[in-house]
Amino acid sequence: MSRPTSIRFLFAAVALLATTLPVTAASGASRPPQKLTVYAVPATVQFMNHADDRLRGMSANPFNLKADAVIIRTNGKEKGNGPFPGDDILYAFKLFADAKRAKPIGTAMFTCYYGFQKRATCESYFDLARGILLASGQVPFGASRFTLGVTGGTHAYLGALGQVDSRPASGNAQRFDLHMTGLAR
């Protein structure tokens, strides 16, 4: 190899090194994305009916709204069983590592606060042996397919972001795919 060629080769190698180094070093800051699949079986379900609070809120509130206007806007004639805005449901789950539910790995709790059109903002936490994982998002009442955003975690899940995909599994179970990014080393 001639000298100019070897120098060009060296510079090319240096340039290549320079472009790859940031990626290599940056990946040292957080672990690669992880996926954990858990199977959830409902343990308890509890509904909180806030009908009295809604009624009280129509006549006594700090927003200068007429009760009729509020009822029309919310279409909240309280016919049927809701859930109506302000109601909440607590779902407790047992978590298993496999679809056959032979290996318990923790618990999960969903607290769903309802707004309009029977849609809730649900806050959940997955209490696993290696730490806590938080997720929240919108879930329509009765839906088994939904996606939540992962908002944080502790211990092995420190710094976690990501998403939780939910879909039905066999035997009244729910499958949660926990996709985690940004996990600290």
Partner: protein, 200 residues
């Protein structure tokens, strides 16, 4: 010897000592280039990397408001949109004993201090805790610091235990974009020690 730049003619004779000096010069230049690029790369990588930061505070509760939702629980048991299968999962121990019970809410206000003797005020905070079962609650917390900025955390807390660990989910100003964890443990003078591990 010409002082002008440009390559010497192939036929131009170059003394061995002069060739050696040029070669060393090229190597030195190459070494400088390599070091420069590597340094720049490492600095660039460091700028994008998550940085860990620790912060310790001490909190003292200054106020508590308890919201008893007993009527909402009772109404929800008989008037709800759940199907029969879900209604069978109604918790059997719900509503007995002294509570707190599912759906109840506790709001705590706290003062923050930067030292364990609690004489250096560092800010204030609020915990809003929504109870579920067995004296567990999902708590949302914010810590408003006197130095500017707020830290936000949320997660489950076992009220049977004196300590807890919940994720830090964000912050403002000085703490913009942080994530992490806060570990709470009992401290002297009826205070709680809060160890924040923050990642940016």
């Amino acid at each position: 010897m010409s002082l002008r730049g440009g390559a010497a003619s192939p036929n131009q004779h170059v003394a061995p000592s002069c060739r050696s000096v040029r070669s060393r010069g090229r190597r030195a230049a190459l070494l400088v280039a390599v070091l420069g690029l590597v340094s720049a790369s490492v600095l660039a990588a460091g700028a994008g990397a998550a940085q860990s930061r620790a912060l310790t505070l001490y909190s003292v509760a200054t106020g508590l408001q308890y919201i008893n939702t007993e009527d909402d629980r009772a109404r929800g048991k008989v008037n709800n949109p759940l199907d029969s299968a879900a209604n069978e999962l109604w918790p059997k121990s719900s509503g007995t004993g002294s509570g707190p019970f599912a759906g109840d809410i506790a709001v705590y206000s706290i003062k923050l201090f930067s030292n364990p003797t609690l004489n250096r005020p560092a800010g204030s905070g609020v915990y809003t805790c929504y109870f579920n079962y067995d004296r567990h609650a999902f708590c949302r917390a914010y810590y408003k610091l006197g130095t500017g900025g707020t830290l936000v955390a949320s997660g489950p807390i076992d009220f049977k235990s004196s300590g807890f660990a919940i994720p830090v989910t964000g912050g403002t100003k000085t703490y913009l974009g942080v994530r992490g964890q806060v570990d709470a443990a009992a401290a002297k003078r009826n205070a709680q020690r809060l160890d924040f591990k923050l990642l940016r």
